[in-house]
Structures are given as structure tokens and as C-alpha cells.
Amino acid sequence: MKEVVCKKEDLSPGNIMSANVGPIPIVLCRTPDGEFYAYTNKCIHQGAPMSEGVLCGASAPTDTPGEYRYEKEGEILRCPWHGMEFDIKNEGRMLVDSNRKLGNFNVSFDGNDVVVSTKK
């Protein structure tokens, strides 16, 4: 399945939006470097709409209790409900458990059109 979901300029870097590929609701994310990523618009935890969540950064793992180092600004999608963190530049994997991830879609471009397709 393949579908043009928007024009590039419809989504500015650092933002997310909902869209559909056929009947499937997706969340389209654009990282601050301008890249596009698309995932199922349904949290793998309890099904919250990910497009209502927040694109943000995350505290990096550290060896020092009490140390906060905020990284990956604009690359972490946090669920609107319980706030689980998904790394959108790493196949939508959960930060706490990289074995679990959001459903992935391919993103390609046709001129200015953003084309999202289901993975084979």
C-alpha cells in the first residue's frame, strides 16, 4: 500500500501530524534535520494516538546518579498517555526496551510529495 500523505512543506521540522495510508492511521514525524519518518498512529502500549504526543528529546543513559544530559532533541516521540518514549530515528524502538517498537512505514518522495508505503 502506498499513498501521498502531504507536501513536504505541510510539516515543518520538529513537528508531527496524523495521516492515513489506505485505512491505516499513521503518525508522520519530521526531525529537526528535515528527515521524515512514519509510524502506526497507535501506541503499542494501550493504543493512544501517537500524533497527539510530543516530539522531544530524552535524558541520555548515564553512569552518574543525578546527572541529566538531554539529547536527541526532536527525535523522541512520547506517547500522549503514559509517556513511553520511542526513538523515531531508530525504527521507533522504545528507549527502555529496544525489542519493542512502533509499526514502521517507508517514506519516499515524489518531487514535493511525501509518499508513505507499508513495509514489505
Partner: protein, 360 residues
């Protein structure tokens, strides 16, 4: 009679309360501390608004030393009533709450002196007089520097196996206390935690003792959570924690609760890098006592829900009123699991306990 009752399998008892009276400690204290006790009648503050309303207060009514001294004050009576009768392989002494230097809310210099006196007393009068007994280093944890010095002073004694921290109203995972954990790890000592008289929790007591005793696991959960989420086990990967005297049935629910919170709130504690349930499996052990009466099936379900049969370790809590009998407290669990719970889990936990004897 003792021989016929002997426990069939090795038994390592993780909670035996020997009792130091203030009189016992006087020879081990310098002045002015001694004088504050003899002249000013100093005794450590107590907090509970009620007595412990067992048949004889805190202790088993039959555990009073025959000459009238309080329960737990006499080694030979303890040998007769507990160690020989049951057939203990080993038992770990945890003190009797008095003194509990780390529980003091002021006058930390006295706490330091008491910890030192207690350790010298227990080594001389108990650990060096019975092969089976092992001890807990008391410290004044309010002052971590002094606690580290005390661990360095007595922690290498071959029969000191853990550092004891009371569960009161200080959550011990706070980085302020981490030097204590560093020293414990360096000396191959476990951190043992045993409740003292905590409000559960914070600030106030339930109206009745029966409530206080029912929600005791709360205070243990607070400490486990404090140790895990403050990153203690990430920082000291060889450190082990023994949670003494809240039973074990709270663990299956609690590890799930912590895992769920961690999945949702990891970013707040980025120094924690594993699921709390995995940290518990690797680092935390809990005692059976005070056991909840369970059928064999119920017991096995709890073990199953913990995902490990190495977390639970047997303890009697002798000579206290809520003592658990090694013969009657647990349902039959099968050879393998009984071996682990009665001895092998504790043996694995404490690196300074003796190896298993070939005949056992």
C-alpha cells in the same frame, strides 16, 4: 528431643536477634558516653506509640532467659533453644533494635560510639563463641564518613557478613549514603535492612499496632525503590541487599509496579539502565518471616510470579513474638526448592558464609 526434631536439611537463618543491654555495652564504651548512660540514664529514643503487644511484648514468652534476663541476651540459652534444637548450620545476628545507631535523630556522636561498642561486643561475645553465628556491622549511617571508618575497622572480620541499616524514615538510596555502599562492596559485605520503628509512611503512625505490622512491607518497598531508582546497583554492581522481615508476598506485585513506572518514567532516572525486576533478581533477597500462611500451590505461585526461586531466604526472627518455626512455617515445597530457601539462596547471597559441606 533435640535430635529427633532436627531439621533434615541445612538451615541458614537470616534473622536472629541477640540482645545487647546497655550494661553489656558499658565496658566497650569510653567516656563521656558511658557516663551519659550510667549517670544520666540515657536510653535511645523510641517511636512507636504502642507496645508490641505479643504475649510477652516483643519477645516469645518462652524465650526469656531462665535467670530472668531478657530474651536473646544469653548465648547458651539461645544455643539450647534455637541453634541446637533446630540444628542450624548458620545464623545471622541482626541486633535487637537497641542500640540502633543509624536510627538516632540527633547526637550522632553517641551513635558512632554505640555502633563501635556494639560491634566489639558482638564479635567478642557471640561471633567468636559459636561457629554457627555470623554478624552485622552496625554503623552510624547519618555520618557516612564514620560509617565507612567502622566498616574498615571491623568489616574484614571473617564472621561479619553484612552492614545493617535500619528502616526508619531515611530512604538509603540517597547518594549521600553511597560511600557506605562502596565500603560494603569493597569488604564483601551485603547491605542488610531491617525495620526499626518507622512510621509507614511519611510522618505518621496508624492507630493500632496490627495496622503497623500489616503494612510493614510498605517501608521495605520504599527502601528497595530508593536503592534501585537512585542507581545504587548500577554504581556498585557487586552489591547485594537483604530485606529482612517483611515476608516475600509483596515482591511479585512490587516488581511489576516498578517495571511499569520505569517504562513510563525512565527519563527521570537515566542512570537506571535495566528493568527494576531484573535488578531485584540480581541484587535483592527477602526473608520468609513473618510468613503468610500459604498452601503449597499458593506458595509456588508466588515464586513463579517472581520469575526466580533464588530471591526468598528463610529466617526465624528468634526470639521475637512473630518467630517462624523451621518445621512448621512453610508448606512442603519439594527437595530442590526447600534446599534453596532454607540455605542455598542465603549462601549465595553472603560471600563470607562457608561453602556447602560435601555431606549435605
Amino acid at each position: 528431643m533435640a535430635a529427633s526434631k532436627q531439621q533434615k536439611r541445612p538451615i541458614i537463618d537470616m534473622d536472629i536477634h541477640e540482645r545487647a543491654t546497655y550494661n553489656d555495652l558499658l565496658p566497650y564504651l569510653d567516656n563521656p558516653w558511658k557516663r551519659y548512660i550510667t549517670d544520666s540514664n540515657w536510653v535511645q529514643e523510641k517511636h512507636l506509640p504502642y507496645p508490641i503487644p505479643g504475649a510477652a511484648g516483643l519477645d516469645r514468652a518462652d524465650a526469656k532467659v531462665p535467670d530472668g534476663r531478657p530474651a536473646g541476651n544469653d548465648l547458651s540459652f539461645m544455643q539450647q533453644q534455637l541453634l541446637d534444637d533446630v540444628g542450624h548450620e548458620a545464623g545471622i545476628l541482626t541486633g535487637a533494635g537497641d542500640p540502633s545507631p543509624s536510627s538516632m535523630n540527633g547526637w550522632y556522636e553517641m551513635a558512632v560510639a554505640l555502633a563501635t561498642a556494639y560491634n566489639d561486643w558482638v564479635i567478642e561475645n557471640w561471633l567468636e563463641k559459636d561457629d554457627r553465628l555470623y554478624g552485622s556491622v552496625h554503623v552510624a549511617a547519618q555520618n557516612p564518613e564514620s560509617a565507612v571508618r567502622e566498616i574498615e575497622r571491623v568489616g574484614s572480620h571473617p564472621k561479619m557478613v553484612q552492614v545493617l541499616l535500619p528502616i526508619d524514615n531515611r530512604p538509603w538510596g540517597d547518594p549521600y549514603y553511597h560511600p557506605i555502599f562502596e565500603a560494603a562492596e569493597r569488604y564483601n559485605l551485603v547491605i542488610g535492612m531491617h525495620h526499626q520503628e518507622p512510621p509507614n509512611y511519611f510522618g505518621n503512625f496508624p492507630r493500632y499496632f496490627v495496622e503497623w505490622h500489616s503494612v510493614m512491607p510498605n517501608t521495605h518497598m520504599i527502601q528497595i525503590s530508593s536503592m534501585i531508582f537512585n542507581g545504587v546497583f548500577e554504581k556498585y554492581p557487586n552489591l547485594k541487599l537483604a530485606m529482612i522481615e517483611a515476608g516475600f508476598t509483596y515482591i511479585p506485585a512490587f516488581i511489576r509496579k516498578m517495571d511499569q513506572q520505569y517504562k513510563e518514567l525512565r527519563h527521570e532516572v537515566p542512570w537506571v539502565k535495566r528493568m527494576p525486576s531484573d535488578i531485584v533478581k540480581d541484587h535483592v533477597r527477602v526473608t520468609t518471616q513473618p510468613v503468610d500462611e500459604l498452601t503449597r500451590d499458593e506458595f509456588l505461585k508466588f515464586i513463579d510470579l517472581m520469575g526466580s526461586d533464588e530471591i526468598v531466604c528463610f529466617s526465624t526472627d528468634y526470639p521475637h513474638w512473630d518467630y517462624d518455626s523451621p518445621f512448621r512455617a512453610l508448606p512442603p515445597l519439594g527437595e530442590e526448592l526447600e534446599k534453596k530457601i532454607f540455605a542455598e539462596n542465603a549462601r549465595k547471597l553472603y560471600p563470607k558464609l562457608p561453602e556447602r559441606k560435601a555431606t549435605q
